[in-house]
């Protein structure tokens, strides 16, 4: 059995990494492959920023399957705190344990307390789980949605990979997990966090790559359909829309057109399924009036 560390060591160059990612169904360009390579080699978190739907989250999935380790995902949101990200005590079970001890007439206060704050009553949330398992990819998704307090806390955990539980002691990672942090840039993430990371800005893919991605993800799509969608989506991105479509949207669109039985890019069906690509009414209106005659 190969360990994760060995698998990381086996990756000898960005090109080799791109090949392996390719094998999992993720097509990475030179920049992204280099970023992942350096993050793995330098033991740094990978900070991925870019528009929604350019493949930040799916990279973490691909990386997990490449390294053959579980993916642990921490979805951030405003107000997330340590008890949701790190650990929490399982209070109901602790109470049950207490009652059971009482019912059996056992009442050694000190021993009982030690029992109450045992590891088995600790609920591991994503960060603690990642640190305990070690051999895992930890995905901290949409960190820009959390508030600054949480960011500072995250920075601390990511730089030490130790967690101290006052009642239990310190938990340390033997092998630190591979960390991928993503941001949609709804606000500026603090520089201190970025400085610890390998930073990569993910752009929309070039036309040829997008065709390849569609064909890879949806083998039943014909070359002509994939090319037509990629071209249309490229045009849409140049249209000054409120929310330009990402790769995720082109894939949705391709799926929608396949469901409608299209073998090539058909303007009528495309117009009918525009809702798969454009998520704002203003955008749809604009596109209908400007692009589609």
């Amino acid at each position: 059995m190969q360990t994760m560390a060995e698998r990381v060591r086996n990756v000898d160059s960005p090109a080799g990494l791109a090949e392996r990612l390719d094998a999992t169904g993720y097509l990475a360009d030179t920049g992204l492959a280099t970023a992942v390579f350096l993050a793995l080699r330098m033991d740094r978190p990978l900070f991925l920023e870019g528009e929604a739907g350019v493949g930040k989250t799916s990279l973490a999935h691909a990386l997990a399957s490449l390294l053959d380790v579980p993916l642990i995902r921490l979805q951030c949101y405003e107000g997330i705190d340590a008890s949701q990200a790190l650990y929490d005590w399982d209070f109901p079970r602790q109470l049950l344990h207490l009652r059971a001890a009482e019912a059996s007439g056992r009442y050694d206060a000190e021993r009982l307390e030690a029992e109450l704050y045992d590891r088995r009553f600790l609920i591991a949330r994503p960060l603690l789980r990642a640190i305990e398992i070690g051999h895992a990819v930890l995905l901290v998704d949409e960190v820009d949605r959390a508030d600054d307090e949480f960011e500072a806390f995250l920075l601390e955990v990511l730089s030490e990979f130790t967690i101290s539980v006052p009642e239990l002691g310190t938990i340390r990672a033997d092998t630190p997990p591979v960390v991928v942090v993503t941001s949609n840039r709804t606000r500026e993430v603090h520089d201190a966090l970025k400085r610890r990371c390998i930073y990569h800005w993910l752009d929309h893919p070039a036309y040829e790559r997008e065709v390849a991605i569609i064909r890879r993800r949806l083998p039943e799509a014909t070359e002509r359909l994939a090319a037509g969608i990629a071209e249309a989506v490229h045009r849409l991105r140049g249209q000054d829309l409120i929310k330009p479509p990402g790769v995720a949207e082109s894939l949705d669109w391709a799926r929608a057109l396949l469901e409608l039985g299209a073998h090539e890019f058909d303007p009528e069906l495309a117009a009918a399924s525009l809702g798969a690509v454009l998520k704002y009414q203003e955008d749809a209106q604009r596109v209908r009036s400007v692009i589609l005659p």
């Binding site: 280099t34 970023a35 390579f37 350096l38 405003e78 705190d81 209070f91 109470l95």
Partner: protein
Amino acid sequence: MIGAVVAFARTLRFAGLDVTTDRIQSMVVALDHLGVTGTDQVYWAGRLTLCAGPDDIRRYDQAFAAYFLGDRPAVSPVPATVTVVGLAGWPVRDDNPSDDAVHPGVALNASDREVLRHRDVARLTQAERDEVRRLLALLEPVGPLRRSRRFAPARRGPIDAQRTVRQLLRGGGEPARLHRHAHRRRPRRLVLLLDVSGSMAAYADALLRFAHVAVRRRSGTEVFTIGTRLTRVTRELRRRDADLALQAVAKAVPDWSGGTRLGELLRAFLDRWGQRGTARGAVVVFASDGWERGDPQVLAEQMARLRRLAHRVVWVNPHRGKAGFAPLTAGMAAALPHVDEFVSGHSLAAYEELAAVLSGRGRQDHHGGRGRV
């Protein structure tokens, strides 16, 4: 190799990147892992370790081309903290005026030519200092509030099961009193968009002093200037000393007293910052006389968009307080239907009124319920 990296880092700093020693170290380590076999490796090793955002990457690309590939034009010093959003249709910033001719396809009327100029700021007079002090006292640190997702202990509200049970366990399982919690309330963000074009020149200083007060007084406040460019000046205004802050802003804003393209710049603001979060649920103050060189229709559309995102939209027009004022400028007429509050900004008294509006006193309530103009 380290020597070359450090020299390159100096070029980057000149271009406005925040290159720290630990970042340089990271680049050296990255190069070591990649092996220096071509410019590609050097490019990525640097980009992945030295940049922290798309604006950085743009500057990095320029500096890289200039330093390693010997491309002209060499990098022009860009203030590190400022983001200038260049607009389609406007020549890229360019210190060589004769170059204007080489931008074919860019239709420029003489009156529409972008004038880039910085300005000199005089030190504040005693009267102005007093005014800043007075405004500081007037603008309350907390304005309209919004409900945060975080909980805090409270007297009434849902039961805080965690705390209650924790207490209960501490007491050996004896039922203790019920603890409750409620959502915390956080102040809404304040966003100021200040028109610094020629027609607003007489009022720009006072507006910036007000912005400085707002940034100091309310955490999270964002300030942008609008002329022919959109410039974020929040960081400059964070300096405590009003003199230093205003000098920093003067240095950062490249389009002082030029023309105005309110609609397009508002769109640039909403695309780059507003929609992503800066304007969401915020109190947005737009200070301008509404002189619009562009299409007023664009301004109307973008104002409607802003209104849907923001909690309140306050328009400050310095001319409003004058006798016989009517909102006749095309921009003003286009924007007015999408404005919650319309206040004047021509005197200190007017700023007091603005401060009152922003403090949530008098003319508005705290939650929802937009007051009409």
